[in-house]
Point group: C2
DNA sequence: GCCTAGGTTCAAAATTTATTGAAACATCAG
DNA sequence: CTGATGTTTCAATAAATTTTGAACCTAGGC
């Protein structure tokens, strides 16, 4: 079933030939992939996280690539994303060359961080624009209903920005 | 600036020729588009919502299409999406043929509904699978750490499902 | 019934986004 | 320094998503 058509099963460098995901691992991966999809996180990233999540110890680069059957580039980028969002951390044993990865302790914290990183920039960037839109509407003497809507949007935006730092301290605090 | 190169400015059926979005409208649309993007809602849908949001009265199909400069298909599908998620409602004046659209009163409620509709199905569908994954791990005598993770995931899932109906009653209650 | 304004559908085209893999880069043991 | 291992980059490709527009419904006036 697994065609051994790897060109020349080299003796020496012998790619360790990793197993594909087990059914129970696939199931979990599907769950993560779906949830991630809602936030626009790519499949490969969710798969990497899921794999680390069901694995007993930390896994190294080659294991991740081998078991998921995805490219080096994807693994690298996926780990970068997860690292940047503080969703995984590496444990490098002393004297070892390769890094080994595991999920950060709290999935909850990870999710909050992820959301923050997506929503906050949008809110921040929008702030001045929204204020301008409101001012504009007031000047033009727009319908009270519209003014009301735009005011509420502004209030929300402001409050969200105030609350944000409380949810989770900005990376580095 | 606006090249009148519409082939034969037909007298009769005279496309009313709507204005493109004003700068302040564009600004708001950009905001909504960005926020929507986080949840994977397409640009055209966000634009429609934004337009209704800044407009004084309800708008009809042709106005939406004309002002946004998008295709009929997009308007139809966009309105369907917004309708399905209870983010807009139509007011059809008696004796009038066309429907006219406006945003539902509470943007907050709309957002919650939207989230619900994305997250809930995933949670529900995952429930049995997650339980199986956990049982599986226990049988195989997996590492306590992994068991712990999977248990927590299951607990979360269950709690989320219990809480969900409280957040907003299911459409039709 | 027939006609038409008003809207929907859906396959094809355009656009966006993710993945791949080869080449470049980095780091460490020797 | 050198050579090999381990990782990142990024242009090209593949895959997924969105938009378009023409054909197709549907309800209401006549």
């Amino acid at each position: 079933m697994k065609p051994p058509s790897e060109k020349s099963a080299g003796r020496r460098k012998s790619r360790p030939s990793f197993e594909p995901l087990q059914p129970h691992e696939v199931e979990l991966a599907d769950f993560f992939v779906r949830m991630a999809g809602i936030l626009g996180v790519p499949r490969s990233v969710a798969e990497i996280y899921a794999l680390l999540y069901v694995s007993s110890g930390p896994l190294d680069f080659d294991h991740i690539q081998g078991r998921l059957g995805i490219s080096k580039g994807s693994v690298s980028q996926g780990l970068k994303f997860l690292r940047d969002h503080e969703m995984v951390l590496s444990v490098k044993e002393k004297g070892a060359r390769r890094e080994r990865w595991q999920p950060t302790p709290s999935l909850a914290a990870s999710l909050v961080a992820l959301l923050r990183s997506q929503v906050l920039p949008a809110l921040e960037q929008a702030q001045p624009g929204l204020q301008r839109v409101l001012a504009d509407a007031q000047q033009r003497g727009a319908q009270p209903e519209v003014i009301e809507r735009l005011s509420r949007l502004n209030r929300w935006n402001s409050r969200a920005l105030e609350l944000a730092p409380l949810l989770l301290p900005p990376p580095g605090a």
